[in-house]
Symmetry: C2
Subunit: 171 residues, 2 copies
Amino acid sequence: MSGGAPASGLCLTTAPLTASSFAAFGDVIETEGRAHYPINAGTAQRYNDLARVEVTASGGRPLISILLAEPVAPPLRLRLMERHPLSSQAFIPLSSTPFLIVVAPPGVLDVERIRAFRSNGSQGINYRTGTWHHPLLALERRSGFLIVDRGGEGGNCDEISVEDRNIVVTL
Amino acid sequence: MSGGAPASGLCLTTAPLTASSFAAFGDVIETEGRAHYPINAGTAQRYNDLARVEVTASGGRPLISILLAEPVAPPLRLRLMERHPLSSQAFIPLSSTPFLIVVAPPGVLDVERIRAFRSNGSQGINYRTGTWHHPLLALERRSGFLIVDRGGEGGNCDEISVEDRNIVVTL
C-alpha cells in the first residue's frame, strides 16, 4: 500500500473523570465526595490541597493564568501530545464548561496507552509532571479556564505530532 | 458613656474592582483589557502570569483548594480582619459569583484605611503577603472559589476582631 489515508487507527471513547481512574495521570480538582472543614465561622467549607503542584524545579515559580478556549465538536482527530518535563499543570473551568482530557503516561509516548476523559464542568484537573496530554479541548462554548503552572527558565514543553496516527476521540 | 452600642463607626461603600485601585493590596485576576497570546494552534488565548504568587517562604509549597461559601446580604458589619504573614492568597470565583473584598494595607491594622471592592464575578483577586482582609464575602448564592495559597509549617494567619469598631459595608 502506498500513499492515501492510514489504513487503521485508534478510536477512543471518553470515560467520566474520576479521581481513581485519573490517578496515573494527575489529580481531579473537585469537591464531590472530598473531605472538607469549616472556616470563616462556619460560613464556608474548605476542600484543602486538591492537587500536587510541582512548579519549583530549576528555579521555577507558580503562575496563575487564564486560558480562553474555543470549543471543539467531537468526534475529533488528535493533533499532538505535549508534556511539561519540569512541572505539573492544572486547568480549572471558570464557567462550568465540560471539557475533554486526553492523556498518556510519562516516559516514551505510547499511543496505545492514550486515554480520554470527560470533565462534568465542575471538575478541574492537574497533570502530573511529565504526563502527556493533548491541548485543552473545551466543549459547547468559548470559555475560561484557570491555569496553575510554572514560570521560569528551562525548556518545559515537549511536543509530538500524532496527526498521522489517525486517533479519533468520540464522546 | 458606658455600655451599649458604640456611638459612631465607619460606613464603607464598595468600589468596582480594578487593577489600579487594588494595586496596593494585590492583584486582580481577569482577562478584561489584559495582554494575551495565542496557543494551541490559535484555538485559545493565554493571559499569562496574572498574580504574584508568594508561597515558598519558610519551606512553604503552593496549594490548590476550593472554598464553598454561603452568601452574605449587605449591609453587613465586619467581624474581623486577617492576614497571612508568610504568603499571598488568591480567590477566583468558579461560577461567576460577584463578591466583596475588604482590605487594609500591610503593617499595623489601621481601620481608617480599610477599603471595600466589588468583583463583577469574572474577576478573582490575589492578596499580597501581609495584606489585611476580611474573610470572603460571596454575594447572591452559595458558590465555589478556587484558592491558591500556601501549605507548610509556621503560623500563617493573624486575626484581629473589628466587631466593636462598628464598621458597616454597603453595596
